[in-house]
Symmetry: D2
Subunit: 253 residues, 4 copies
């Protein structure tokens, strides 16, 4: 049994520091790096790429809406062509740093509102897939387990990876409980580690029509901006290793 | 005898239209496309790349300071590392569209204040060269004839091309007369065409210490945002062809 | 009989020119000036305020979403508190220029997606009203005739003015036909002038449940970014004057 | 003997938190609030104004260059008219929140690169003064002791206040040692408190030509983004009170 541990990092901007990148990088197998739209700037991107390569962490792009003030979490009414173009832009920008530092771009995971929309909105999901596929058919598309994004990714012949969230609550249909609602966030490291192990073993059970279905998980998302993010990451890694679950980055099926 | 005709296009932004891209593209051999910092946005970039490919125009990147309101013409006090990182970012972003549309990135020409600083400031020129070289040693670096940028480009083993401006006034040291000063801008298409032919034939004579020197010109810059930009471009092309000067895009020496 | 003629101006940004402000200003009685979020910048704002005062045109604020690339036309998922705060910010910023130039701020009209949301979404409409009322209880709130915005404005004891669009199509419920759909835009100056006169005389007939209702119009919006915007404005003014409809700016009831 | 203690706060942006506003506010007599250009956003501005009023701290505007990524610390080549317009814009925006919350705008202090330029560049200093005076002749202009800004402020009949920095090194001409150079920053709270008491008592001795001169200090700047900022602020206040120096906000002469 194996699992990928991913985290969104490189979310600082200019003087503004967000997240404990150096503390978390040693514990994860994949990193999603912000691309200068909802967070990150060229200097931050370069440093984060470098840090990832030092720790042999697989690098992915984390494109989002161009809304720094809202951190890419406010849904914006982009049309699909705009989404496709912004995806290409951000993939290209991050890719330049990865290439300059001698690494490879392995995966893509949309951020925030874009991720959430792409989970349920097929037109948006397709726009993202078109942008990714135009950049490279080899990029692994990371999306919510059971989401429209993964469905569209398969349709566009992209390798896909199903993501699970050990620190978020789930609704019966497999979608995340929206932030702000009760049970949306788990903060206790012990509980998060427990959830992580369970997600690896059991996946996510959802109600699809009359029947129950199980969504398998390929990668677990750890959040880098919690107060005890590095400690939580270490705890999750420890727990998974105790259970003989191997932590390794995504690879094409 | 031959010369490249280049123009800065793709400078629109969202609803804001700048320049007659469609009118000028047929007349030039190289285009410098804004990369979303001082001008341009992902959707504009993609359209401009497409338009260039339709007209078999060689594509270059036109990176600038991230100052849309000042159109990248206000000098900003970036340190060299920031410049290097912003260059990489913008090269990567544009490159994604070129690759998606099936073209190649041929050259790089800094924009506005960055161009002017790199003409005289070696640290800034080196930062640009490092960014370009990290992206690709094959990119042709376009800079002011006689500038620090070209000198540093040669030092970094980049192919370089010397640019001349048929619609701008020159100072005795070979630098452009700053915008706003008398004689800084020529607007009459006939005079611009005449200047173009002369720059091809004679280069730019400058006073370097006690002696006169001649700077050869590889590429002429036409401006795309003049009222009669397309007409001027057509006139310049016509005049050069009358003089049996072949118009063709830059190639590595 | 009398009517106000308003137009959204001051929508240029840096080097980017949008609309024929100088051509239109002489024909209107009220101007809505962009406040640096979806369009406009401090220098543009100041010039537009000056131009309005020269032509004795009543000045209003035209706040929008902070999305220059989307020109404030893309719905953004702001929460009501954010909307209230952005309204205050933009009112204050514009107000500084009006005060510096010796004028008065008379009215407020939300822009683009904010206008459209406030037409139907009461929480958003209330947030705008709170922002406006905190700034001044004397500002006249301009909104779509029959909209939630006007309803909420009345609830917050703000003077309100109902707006009609002679160059836009209406749906049976009184909302504008969304841009992009057939019939959403009228471009012929003659038809626009005819619509203007009709809107003054007859208002807008809407179907409200089983009964027909008539919405009275206090102000007509002319668009400043059409190719023949100045000509259209002149034609509308002429037609209204032929029909003995007096053109004058809004005043408190 | 009395002194004002000021601090730059409200420098967070969206999700990005900078500085310990709540920890520092109780210890100061004046606050300089960022206005959404180099830092701050409408929601942050409103909260900071509220916090200041709760603690009876005098509110000032802290306008800066529109360069969030560079935090307003990168010199930008604005022309004086642009500076004047940006000052007005930011004063107006902040003022709206102060008015909404029932407070008064007392002073203005330019931020970062703008502050530094205005210390030595008279044209820039005048532009700032024009912007401030257009907004209100009653605003107290805060600038570096001995600076061109204060000189120009007096010329424009603005009340002025001379600022000293207990945590920064000074050069013999009275300018601050630029950040990054040795001795530019003092971080030990004890030394800062000592410097504060000395600045109150002795002012700053500078070499002006052949003679020594003493610059009196009206207000001391405490930095809010140091690791131990709140502790330092408390220590400074304590030390000053021990020395019977009264801490009170600026007032017009």
């Amino acid at each position: 049994m194996k699992i990928d541990l991913n985290c969104d990092l490189g979310e600082s901007f200019g003087r503004y520091v967000l997240g404990d990148d150096a503390g978390i990088m040693p514990h994860i197998s994949s990193v999603n790096i912000a691309c200068g739209a909802h967070a990150g700037d060229p200097t931050i991107m370069r440093k984060t790429v470098r840090l990832a390569l030092e720790h042999h962490v697989a690098i992915g792009a984390h494109p989002g809406y161009p809304d720094l003030q809202g951190f890419g979490r406010r849904k914006m009414n982009f049309d699909p062509q705009e989404v496709e173009d912004f995806i290409l832009y951000q993939l290209g920008a991050l890719s330049a740093f990865i290439q300059a530092e001698g690494g490879n771009l392995i995966h893509v995971k949309p951020h925030g509102a874009l991720y959430n929309q792409a989970s349920v909105d097929r037109a948006m999901a397709e726009a993202i897939c078109r942008g990714v596929a135009l950049f490279s058919q080899d990029l692994i598309l990371v999306g919510l387990a059971g989401s429209a994004l993964l469905e569209m990714g398969r349709k566009h012949s992209l390798p896909v990876a199903a993501e699970g969230f050990p620190d978020r609550g789930y609704q019966p249909d497999g979608n995340l409980t929206p932030r702000g609602l009760p049970g949306s966030l788990v903060t206790d490291p012990e509980t998060i580690a427990e959830n992580a192990a369970r997600l690896c073993r059991d996946g996510i059970k959802i109600i699809a029509g009359q029947t129950e279905e199980v969504l398998r998980i390929d990668t677990l998302c750890l959040h880098g901006d919690h107060p005890h993010a590095a400690e939580t990451a270490a705890r999750v890694r420890e727990r998974l290793e105790e259970k003989h679950i191997k932590i390794q980055s995504l690879e094409k099926a």
